[in-house]
Symmetry: C2
């Protein structure tokens, strides 16, 4: 099934645009190993999310066994829920092909994040997997994002140029954008450039982004396609034995808030 269809189906079923970032930090785990932790988080939240998003950095940091843990984590995720590889890959042609094969064929991710700095031929090998989603970094949620992403060419900031190029490159309809919640006006602007694309929106919670504006500005005209990612706030809601239940409670609360904001946005049914 195409990524976008799978995403919409589970989002409607679970009434949720919440994505949980599976970014396990061994120093913060409450007396369980990484796989046990991930599995407990997934079991406790799989009816509350539209996707899971493991960031590959946290698995690389576990050493040579890290990617086996990642693979096992993916198998713990119920079939209908898409899994997004937060990998932010970007490399030249033949290398990008190796990365795309690794993520989509070897590990079986439904979607991946990619970095636009190297241009079209670094992204093309990913989008050629038409059933997979490809989220291009547009406006990231971190403080340093302005260093280059806000540089203007003919009055247009780089992140907007990236959004326009992404729209132009979206022949197969499988491109999405990463736009941080920490810059609501930029999010609004990017949504106006790409009204139909799926957005992956990090920056809520630990990073300080405002949920109301992330939802209000992030969704499309139907009030959909804005994947709100939360990682630390849910994973480490408790660092005691009750961590899975605490994660569930936190996820449930955030899902409710998202849905409240959705219901109260202008034009909502």
């Amino acid at each position: 099934m195409r990524f976008a269809d799978k995403l919409l189906a589970i989002s409607r079923k679970n009434k949720s645009w919440l994505c949980i970032g599976l970014d396990p930090d061994p120093e913060l785990l409450p007396g369980v190993d990484v796989l046990q932790f991930n599995n407990a988080i997934i079991e406790a939240t799989s009816d509350l999310v539209c996707a899971y998003k493991p960031n590959l950095a946290f698995y690389e940091a576990l050493g040579t066994g890290g990617f086996a843990i990642l693979e096992k984590t993916i198998t713990c995720i119920p079939d209908g829920i898409p899994v997004i590889a937060d990998a932010k890959r970007g490399d030249i042609g033949n290398t990008a092909r190796a990365y795309a094969r690794a993520l989509f064929t070897v590990f079986g991710f439904d979607a991946a994040t990619v970095n636009p700095y190297l241009g079209f031929d670094s992204i093309e090998p990913f989008i050629s997997y038409r059933d997979n989603g490809v989220f291009i970094l547009c406006r990231t949620s971190n403080r340093g994002a302005t260093d280059f992403q806000n540089l203007c060419t003919d009055g247009i900031p780089l992140y907007e140029v990236v959004a326009r190029k992404a729209r132009e490159w979206n022949t197969y309809g499988n491109i999405g954008l990463v736009v941080g919640a920490t810059y609501p006006q930029e999010l609004q602007k990017v949504r106006s450039i790409c009204p139909d694309m799926c957005f992956l929106i990090p920056g809520i919670g630990a990073q300080g982004g405002d949920l109301a504006s992330a939802v209000g500005y992030g969704v499309d005209a139907q009030g959909e396609k804005a994947i709100i990612n939360v990682s630390r706030q849910i994973l480490y809601a408790s660092q005691e034995k009750d961590f899975a239940q605490a994660a569930r409670n936190m996820a449930e609360g955030i899902r409710r808030q998202i849905n409240t904001h959705l219901a109260s946005r202008p034009g909502a049914k």
Copy 2:
């Protein structure tokens, strides 16, 4: 030992600015496995190079066992030769810290390539490892590089802004730049902005970059600090049983050409 010192020491000892990219493609290997292949290439060339550069994509593409092969490959490399992780990582603060720890502490690389799109806080966790080298992507060697890297702000293309920022951020002296051989004039320009930095120069060989201008424009005033990377042209010089000897012959030839260009550049002793 600091990366830059290790690099200069081996470069002078081996009379070489050649780096070999260890990018094994299982479909091109002549009846040996990846580790045997890498080991044979290293044994055949370790007196001819200034560094080795595995690109992590090719190890990820091998599946969950790929990083164990990468780790074993690193142990095959003689002590005095620096190993550069071509990873092109770029992520927000706490994730960038996980990537830096993975590359420098867990795998023990001497240096790594990083992507500048996310700005300073995505790079800071890498440069805080003062003994390790950090090569920021500046002007890449691929065709799509112009899509964003040549966009001008106040008449200055993005890759030049990146070079200037890299110079500004280089407090610990461990930042270098990736500048492709396929754009010699841009290489010359970037060298004028960062006269003392170490450059990693891909794009020779399969990608069509000109070696004479890569050397002529890439080196610093002392005729050093231009790491010329070659991958496929050496690795697959022969796809028969004699692949290691063929790789050695090719590497020897390229080293000789580099040194000829070095000797004939204006101002050479």
